[in-house]
Symmetry: C2
Subunit: 227 residues, 2 copies
């Protein structure tokens, strides 16, 4: 079985990607980054999901960027917006997050001898995030193929972003067919410690609309009853 490194946040998208990579026959090494996100329950969700979907290994590495500030997800002085998705780059954007996460995935891939990295970025719902665009993923792949020992000896590394052009409803639909239990996942930017979601942050809104559009009952537990 070919090894692959899967970036797994514990949210809806990355959990679907893990199921997809498994369906493609990869032995999955899941990597979660603890970047001081408000919602620690995301990392617990990642652990549950990795287990449920038969990952070979799950590792959590610390990503020490909280002290740099600059994002509502790592800086408690900045509020998470709850008034609906706005145009432009949102304050929940974490500086260079996907660059950093893919770099960690690359480091592990190199140690494992894996030539495949899977990441759940999506350009449809998250058009505001610069590092979710197809051209960004392609540029990282070019970099990866210059950066490593394996690259020097001619091996080719592929960065898979299978959700890139899919709507949230299509992602959920694919995940359901692949056996993902979305009740285990946490997408909320400010979930409580039990993994209950707020229902009003951008991530909750997009997720909720996705289940609605897919015609599938939303298994998310919300703590915010007004939502």
């Amino acid at each position: 079985m070919k090894k692959a490194v899967i970036l797994l946040s514990g949210g809806l998208d990355s959990s679907t990607v893990l199921a997809y990579a498994r369906s493609q026959g990869f032995a999955c090494y899941c990597l979660s980054l603890d970047y001081g996100q408000r919602s620690h329950s995301e990392l617990l969700a990642a652990e549950r999901v990795a287990k449920a979907l038969g990952a070979k290994m799950h590792r959590v590495l610390k990503l020490d960027i909280g002290q740099l500030g600059g994002s509502a997800l790592t800086d408690t002085a900045i509020d998470v917006p709850v008034d609906g998705v706005q145009p432009g780059v949102p304050v929940t954007y974490v500086p260079a997050r996907n660059t950093l996460m893919l770099s960690f995935a690359l480091a592990w891939a190199e140690v494992l001898g894996a030539q495949d990295i899977f990441v759940g970025v999506n350009a449809v719902d998250y058009s505001g995030y610069p590092d979710c665009r197809p051209e960004f993923i392609r540029a990282f792949e070019v970099l990866a193929n210059l950066a490593t020992k394996a690259a020097v000896s001619g091996a080719r590394l592929t960065v898979h972003a299978p959700l890139m052009e899919m709507s949230k409803a299509q992602i959920i639909d694919m995940g359901m067919r692949l056996g993902v239990d979305y009740g285990l996942t946490v997408s909320c930017y400010q979930a409580d410690s039990a993994g209950n979601a707020c229902g009003v942050c951008d991530s909750c809104r997009l997720r909720k609309e996705g289940f609605f559009a897919a015609g599938i009952p939303d298994p998310t537990r919300y703590f915010n009853k007004i939502s």
Copy 2:
């Protein structure tokens, strides 16, 4: 004054780069990564050097890759080679290190609003490291210019690698003219806690030869008298 992020390990090369960036009129924000390197005295050296060369700020972030293994610099089960520089990628190579370090620099640059990153990579002495090649640096620059909020609004980020084509002797010569006190720097892969160098690892050998070729007395303190 324009802000720049300088990757500063505390070694000879990156200290010279800091002096160079200062001479170009940049306000220097120095970033050191604590990746569990054997030689913690490198980080202390970075602190001394940042202060001596008038850096605006010096930050140390943890780079949590030690548990991935795969390098003599982070994995104590692998010995640091002391028998001279060999062809090929050395075991002291840290998987994806420069990709990771540049990604952290990019994150900080984004928060600071800096459009310049300086890194002390060098293709002459370190031809064995894939992520010290000019094409790698260029690929990272392309990536950086797709990855950030600033990139979306048209700002252009530059990755400066001023030492890329210089010999160790040329680097030392430039640094001396820029006022670098190399007695403060630590390059050794296995320096002791006081910053004394072994004299026999690849990094020590290249440094020692550099001082010799530059015709400048080597200010390095060695603990290994056989060297």
